[in-house]
Amino acid sequence: MSAAPSGITLATLTKDVRLEWRSKDAINSMLFFALLVVVVFSFSFDPVAEESRQIAGGLVWVAFLFAAVVALNQTWARELRNQVLDAYRVSPAPANSLFLAKAMGNFLFVGVLEALMTPLFVVFYKLRVLGPAWQLLPVAILGTWAIVVNGTFFAAMSLRTRSREIMLPLLLFPITIPALLSMVEATTTILVGDPSTSAKFWIVLLATYDVVFTTGCLALFETVLHAE
């Protein structure tokens, strides 16, 4: 009888978070990278307040996407260093527990990055939300999960390819286009606050995207993990 899968997921997650907290090198470099992305974006786009509200949605999410990709590339770094993945693969622990733990770990990690980047964006672009601000929360959560769940899956997939770092964005970006479009459009609609349009459709689409791809990942991760 192996431990309950959720127990394993929790143990793996706490292990990852503890290691992340202990070494902190990855998180610091990532935070600095996120800051750089925001500043570079702010230099290249410096619109008047009204215009910035139109394009801020796109800027914010593209910046988050790039920061997330760099973080996702590190997902399996620790497992590869001493081939610890083999120890996990030999054990009776289910593959999906590992996947969920890694995805949630990434979700927290990217969430922290976003939490840092958002205030900077608000400051640099003098943003004020005109529409229903509370809707931004579901958009952020569903959107980040959409990037992270596929990112973790494709990071595991690109372990088996030659040029690993470039492979992940190549696989991730085309598949994430509908989610990215939904996030950007929802955020822009909320920022602009035009009463005639509502972000509800986009939030529903994001939710469907998350459900479809989370099930897809859980169904196929075992095959990809053991595809040596």
Binding site: L170, L171, P174, W202
Partner: protein, 288 residues
């Protein structure tokens, strides 16, 4: 069997030239757009052929993943049958489900086509061959998709003065093209022996993504209306007739290209197989 290929080749060439003649001369001139509207007879058939090829790729990839284990294979059979039955029954039982343009019968036929195609592939292709079929249809599909993405702007430019419009169909084709190019890139870069499994998983993901791409861009368009390629609504029956001829011609052409690419792939794998066997037999003196 060997001589069937050149005969089919000639037939297809004849059909293609006939279709070209129909498209350029016989078909009536469109009032508003004039001659340039004839690009329609290459643009739309290429798109339909590309979607069909990607659909076959999806079915072949699902089969490759499913047939590895007899249990999941049986489950998949039943799932496909239920989907087929549903698409036949649902539009008649719940008329509201049928979207505006489509008729209930067309949904039913696609349902039957899905089930038929799935079991056709299952019968004719062994497990390893489905992987080859998936690669072939993906590659030829990308070629047809490139054609669509080239003829699209060439059509939009004279009619609306812009090279690219974020039209629902054109943009979906672009995203589809990106997904399947990343599929081909994964196949080339993957160094592990399990490349087919990874590629099949990505193909399934890509196919799951298609409806989401379509709906997201469709809603995006309703908020920012833009000119629509090929115009919606009904078209002149004579034009439809020419369109179908062209599509038939392109289907035959696609079939031939797929067939030759498939033979190339099979030959490549046979060569690799024999080289592997040779490596198996002669002792490895190199390492002494």
């Amino acid at each position: 069997m060997k001589k069937a290929f050149p005969i089919l080749g000639l037939l297809t060439a004849g059909l293609l030239s006939y279709a070209l003649y129909e498209g350029l001369v016989v078909a009536p001139k469109e009032q508003t757009m004039g001659e340039v509207q004839r690009i329609f007879y290459y643009h739309v058939p290429s798109a339909w052929t590309a979607f069909l090829l990607f659909f076959i790729n999806f079915l072949a990839s699902v089969q490759y993943l499913v047939r590895r284990d007899p249990k999941t294979d049986k489950i998949a059979n039943w799932v496909v049958i239920t989907i087929g039955v549903l698409t036949c029954v649902a539009p008649y039982a719940i008329p509201s489900l049928v979207p505006a343009g489509a008729r209930a019968s067309s949904i039913a036929t696609t349902g039957v086509a899905l089930v038929g195609l799935y079991f056709l592939i299952k019968k004719f292709f062994s497990e390893q061959e489905t992987d080859m079929l998936a690669l072939t249809t993906a590659e030829v599909g990308v070629v047809f998709c490139t054609v669509v993405l080239v003829t699209g702007p060439l059509w939009a430019r004279p009619v609306w003065g812009i090279w690219w419009t974020w039209d629902v169909r054109l943009t979906s084709t672009l995203v589809l093209w990106l997904i399947y190019v990343s599929y081909l890139v994964l196949r080339r870069f993957s160094s592990s022996g399990q490349t087919p499994v990874l590629a099949a998983a990505l193909a399934v993901f890509g196919a799951l993504d298609v409806p989401l791409v379509y709906f997201s861009i469709w809603f995006f368009r309703t908020q920012h209306p833009q000119p629509v390629i090929g115009g919606g609504g009904s078209i002149d029956p004579r034009m439809l007739h020419v369109l179908l001829i062209n599509w038939l011609a392109f289907l035959c052409f696609a079939f031939l290209v797929c067939w030759s690419r498939y033979r190339l792939e099979r030959m490549k794998r046979e060569v690799e197989e024999t080289q592997a066997l040779e490596a198996l037999l002669e002792p490895r003196s190199a390492l002494r």
